[in-house]
Symmetry: C2
Subunit: 195 residues, 2 copies
DNA sequence: CCTACCGATCGGTAGG
DNA sequence: CCTACCGATCGGTAGG
């Protein structure tokens, strides 16, 4: 029955979405399955017809968000751009992710510590690879003298962290538009790298 | 009895220190008072002779760390420095805080959401004031044409977030020294602001 | 600082 | 999807 299948997966999707919102708001550990059930509109026990465990919910949210970042970087890497252009594209991508998929992105960057052992290990490896790919973009830029002599490692940390910090913008009065946010971020972080 | 008093306060200090380590490692919500008791080396019930509640522990850790940051900024503000010099001093101060008082600083930046209502409100106000003071340093720099035209708000967010991101350096292999870290951070973030 | 214990809540299962 | 319920664990207190 295709409609039943679709129904089930969209209900699962809804659970994941609500969970993402709660995990962001209160943290993974402080969110109970009863909280989630109430938000979804069912009894706690009923959640288990759609998901295996609380841990699985976190794992799905984080892994698919991380995969999306990874895929973007791999695509970008094949394009014929200067290092600076690549970095600018990356910053704009992450700012957009942070704004458009705020809950998922926030959960990934803040709650990953609560992944269970296997998934935690996978996530850490994936993130390390991601950082290393970004580092080599910067290294290339330094060799080509597009980018000043700087520690690629620190620069990557700085860029990724700056994006994470946009949670405060998201929380607050939003005195600035998403476009201005993106442009100012690029201005600060890219011109800090240019020779 | 002065020695008894001293003893008690140093025991309390030890509890706060161990708690800070656990809160950083596992998060506030995922740390139980039994975890803490075991780390301290007493039974859970005995903790309550030194502290009032789990919430109080978090409040003390965060408020005294935040106060230290505030005091530094107020002192700095009275000194006769250019805006760029002030920002550089600020960045170096925060990097040092992050490295030397890693656990407390981390708990402040990551676990503040779990403060109870009154203390949460106080913390948010305090942080907003801090950000605004930093913003006005940048605004002054723009007016004096030391600093390029940029959104002070985004710049402050970027700087403070970049420091927060050093947690990853702290966790990892530390392929770079604290001094290099500080210098590279300043290089990236300050030259991204200079005209 | 400990033993003993409280009521509340947790993630999750059985069975329908 | 629900009712009913499990064992485990939570923050915290009483009383010594």
């Amino acid at each position: 029955m295709p409609s039943a299948v679709k129904n089930k997966s969209s209900k699962k999707e809804m659970i994941l979405e609500k969970a993402s919102g709660l995990f962001r708001e209160k943290g993974f550990a402080a969110t109970s399955m009863r909280d989630l059930a109430e938000t979804v509109g069912v009894e706690a026990a009923s959640l288990y017809n759609h998901i295996r465990s609380k841990a699985e919910i976190l794992q799905i949210i984080i892994s698919r968000t991380a995969d999306e970042c990874e895929k973007h970087l791999d695509t970008l890497d094949k394009e014929n751009l200067t290092s600076i252009q690549k970095l600018e594209t990356l910053i704009r991508f992450h700012v957009k992710m942070m704004l458009n998929q705020f809950e998922d992105y926030h959960v990934m960057t803040h709650e990953w510590i609560h992944l269970d052992k296997t998934n935690l290990l996978h996530f850490i490896t994936q993130r390390r690879n991601y950082v290393q790919k970004m580092e080599s973009i910067i290294e290339e830029g330094i060799q080509k003298e597009e980018i000043k002599k700087i520690s690629p490692y620190v620069a990557v940390l700085t860029i990724l962290s700056a994006v994470r910090g946009l949670e405060f913008w998201h929380r607050s009065q939003k005195k600035i538009s998403p476009e201005e946010l993106e442009d100012n971020m690029v201005l600060h972080l890219i011109s800090g790298l240019e020779k």
